[in-house]
């Protein structure tokens, strides 16, 4: 028995050495690069549409009659929230699985391409209906607003694509575990497993929603239960938000310590963060519906509690990250209480971008916790404040982490290197982006507190004094948006450069090592069945009672509306 295990381990270590010598598997790299390439094309297009909106909201740009504000808003949301984030996450984690598990299995790679095909078909359906002006329903596609049925068909393809990638990841992880008995799954692959478990189970709600909407959209049924669709949507929507967050966090835990010359803070703590996020994630949905009627305050309160529970692993992450920074700084000879802060490699964009992401998560997370409260949410719910909030969480925390990963991930995959010149452009991009987002998101927060509504094109409400008072902030918003488009174009150029133009060379996939005196990770962290069962139990606790109430005590359904 022991010899078999040793034999397997020896074989594995030989494989690892081969991988190390030959570098990244080019077939796996191509798949990840296509996903990441698509992500950044969506990023550029979404950014341009964002600028159009910003200028319109400031009253500086009148959109032509053939290009509706809500059409632009829908495309902006779908491209950035659904396409950019999902394709980047999949590309990144497939590269991570390939690197940490000794290459993707041929069938998993094939599944990756099939998934990509399905997602492209989905995006074509969705994009066509939006461009033709038949689906200006925003990325949340709330009924009773009704898009063309083909919009929802596209969403079905997108979700199936996501499922195929999730199963591909599961197959690869199971295969590795079979050949590495008694070992812990590498931490990055552990994060990947958590993310794909969430992607799979989290999308159940939206799948049920889309299957319920389809017959209504085709006209086979007359009415729809609005509150039910919103609830199903947010059971998925909030999970998706945390999937990006978990992806960003994985780069913080694993890549950053290595880049700044530090060590992994604690393998067990990082795994516990993944476990907690997987278990607690799907059940926070109702805090997006705090002012929705038809849900009892008790149920909303339970969801508030469950949402706040997600804050706990975030605090653990914050603690771990600052501990890593301090240790790395002190190792470099930093003195005094905060001396370590100065010796961090601020000029290295691979550190600077994710560091900005982390710093921005402090106000962003605090704002989120504030919004989860009933009374505070009622003040800001339908205002620009919310838009400001998610441009800070997603637009900075997530996007900057993803961009930070690009600087080492893309050259690693293309066997190129990040040149000092490109590093400088990256630093400039990060500064411009941060400045732009601070102006834009700050203005959105403030003008939202003054009552300016979200999801609305520019209007002065008949030159109402209050509405006119918003204008200076909306100007700031437009200035921020203009800076952001510069950042967007720069980022696109950087990705293009790292993919096709940068000089050939070897770039390491940075994986932090544990401290010498690290304690062994407990075995139970590998029991995914238990984690998933706990997750399902929490989901059942959160959703069975309200969903049954919504279905059996349903109000009369709503006919479709076309508001544009």
């Amino acid at each position: 028995m022991a010899t078999i295990t040793e034999g397997v381990m020896q074989k594995a270590s030989v494989k690892d050495k081969v991988t190390k010598l030959l570098g990244v598997n080019s077939l796996d790299a191509r798949l990840s690069l296509v996903f990441i390439g698509i992500a950044f094309i969506a990023f550029l297009l979404g950014g341009i549409l964002g600028l159009l909106q910003g200028l319109n909201r400031a009253g500086l740009l009148e959109l032509p009659a053939w290009l509706n504000y809500y059409q632009v808003l829908t495309a902006h949301g779908v491209l950035l929230v659904l396409v950019f984030s999902t394709t980047f996450t999949i590309g990144y984690f497939y590269a991570a699985l390939s690197h940490t598990l000794g290459g993707l299995l041929p069938k998993v790679r094939k599944m990756g391409w099939v998934a990509l095909g399905l997602m492209v078909i989905g995006v074509v359906f969705v994009a066509t209906t939006i461009i033709r002006g038949n689906a200006s329903v925003m990325y949340t596609f709330y009924p009773p607003m009704q898009a063309s049925p083909w919009f929802y068909v596209g969403l079905v393809f997108l979700v199936i694509g996501i499922w195929v990638t999730a199963f591909g990841a599961f197959i690869n992880v199971a295969h590795w575990r079979k050949n590495h008995r008694g070992e812990h799954l590498p931490l990055l692959a552990y994060f990947a497993t958590g993310v794909f478990v969430l992607l799979f189970f989290g999308s159940f709600g939206v799948t049920a929603e889309v299957l319920y909407i389809l017959p209504w959209a085709f006209g086979w049924t007359d009415t729809i239960n609005v509150i039910l669709t919103r609830t199903l949507f947010w059971s998925f929507g909030h999970t998706l938000v945390n999937i990006w967050y978990l992806t960003a966090v994985s780069t913080w835990y694993i890549a950053i310590p290595k880049l700044i010359g530090g060590k992994l803070f604690s393998d067990s703590l990082a795994r516990l963060v993944v476990i907690l996020l997987v278990i607690l994630n799907i059940t926070g949905g109702f805090h997006h519906q705090i002012i929705d009627p038809g849900i009892t305050p008790q149920i909303k309160f339970m969801h508030v509690f469950m949402s706040l529970a997600i804050g706990f692993p975030s605090m653990m992450t914050a603690f771990a990250m600052f501990a890593v920074f301090e240790r790395a700084g002190r190792k470099k000879g930093a003195k005094g209480l905060l001396g370590w802060f100065k010796v961090l490699p601020w000029g290295d964009v691979r550190f600077l971008a994710p560091m900005i992401a982390m710093i921005s998560f402090i106000p962003a997370g605090a704002g989120g916790i504030a919004q989860t409260n009933f009374q505070l949410n009622q003040v800001v719910h339908n205002t620009m404040y919310i838009v400001g909030h998610f441009h800070l969480t997603l637009g900075v925390s997530v996007v900057m982490s993803f961009c930070g990963a690009v600087y080492w991930l893309v050259p690693h995959l293309t066997k190129r290197v990040l040149t000092p010149a490109m590093n400088k452009i990256g630093v400039a991009q990060t500064i411009i982006w941060t400045l732009g987002m601070t102006l834009m998101s700050g203005a959105m927060h403030w003008v939202g507190l003054q009552g300016s509504p979200r999801r609305t094109s520019y209007t002065t409400y008949g030159d109402n004094a209050t509405a006119l008072g918003w204008d200076p902030y909306l100007f700031l918003l437009a200035i921020g948006g203009t800076l952001l488009i510069i950042g967007c174009i720069l980022m696109f150029y950087i990705v293009f450069n790292l993919m096709f133009l940068a000089p050939k060379g070897e770039t390491e996939f940075p994986i932090a090592e544990p401290e010498e005196d690290a304690l062994p990770t407990p075995k139970w962290t590998e029991r995914w069945t238990m984690i998933i069962v706990l997750m399902l139990a929490v989901v059942a606790m959160a959703y069975v009672i309200p969903l049954v109430d919504m279905i059996f005590n349903a109000p009369p359904g709503s006919p479709p509306f076309r508001t544009w």
Binding site: A174, R177, K178, R181, G182, K523, E526, T529, V533, L536, A537, A540, M541, V544, I545, L547, V548, D549, F552, N553
Partner: protein, 185 residues
Amino acid sequence: MKQAKYGLVLYIFLMLPPVITFLESVMAIHMHMQMPLLLIVGMLLAPFFQKHFPQFFGTWNKNGVPGITLFMIIVIYWLMPRTMDEALTEPIVEVFKFISLPFLAGIPLRDSWSKLTGVSKNIIYVLLSMLFGLMAWLYIASPTQLCNNYLLIEQKALGWGFLLLAASIVIYFLSTIFIDESKYV
């Protein structure tokens, strides 16, 4: 012994009057949260009793079958709508609930589970999923109120909860058949 301490704390917490009032105010929470938590209390306390009374468990629950039978009897008893009603109206039945679920179901379950053979475990999975499926059908399909204390709509919510529970057990059961855990550890 850490587990036993946690068990005791959880047990005392569940006995607090406001906690009892809240947990029993909704049918699904009563049956699917309070009762399983009481069962978990028993499972957490089990190592303490196993350590102090090894003779007792060795004599009376040698192969795990008596223990699991007792567990099934207690679980089936508490699945009945009538017993839930009684627990709410008769204080003595409420006390019985707080004693029977931890001590006559939770402790025997933990003591028996490791002693049971694979086939017996499979029988329990199948029995429980069938039982929960049956309860789901009863609570969802019943046109009348089964409990005097709970509304029809709460009954339906409980029924759907049972269906999910049954499905979860079936999925877990199938996973134990198709996935050989020993290949991974």
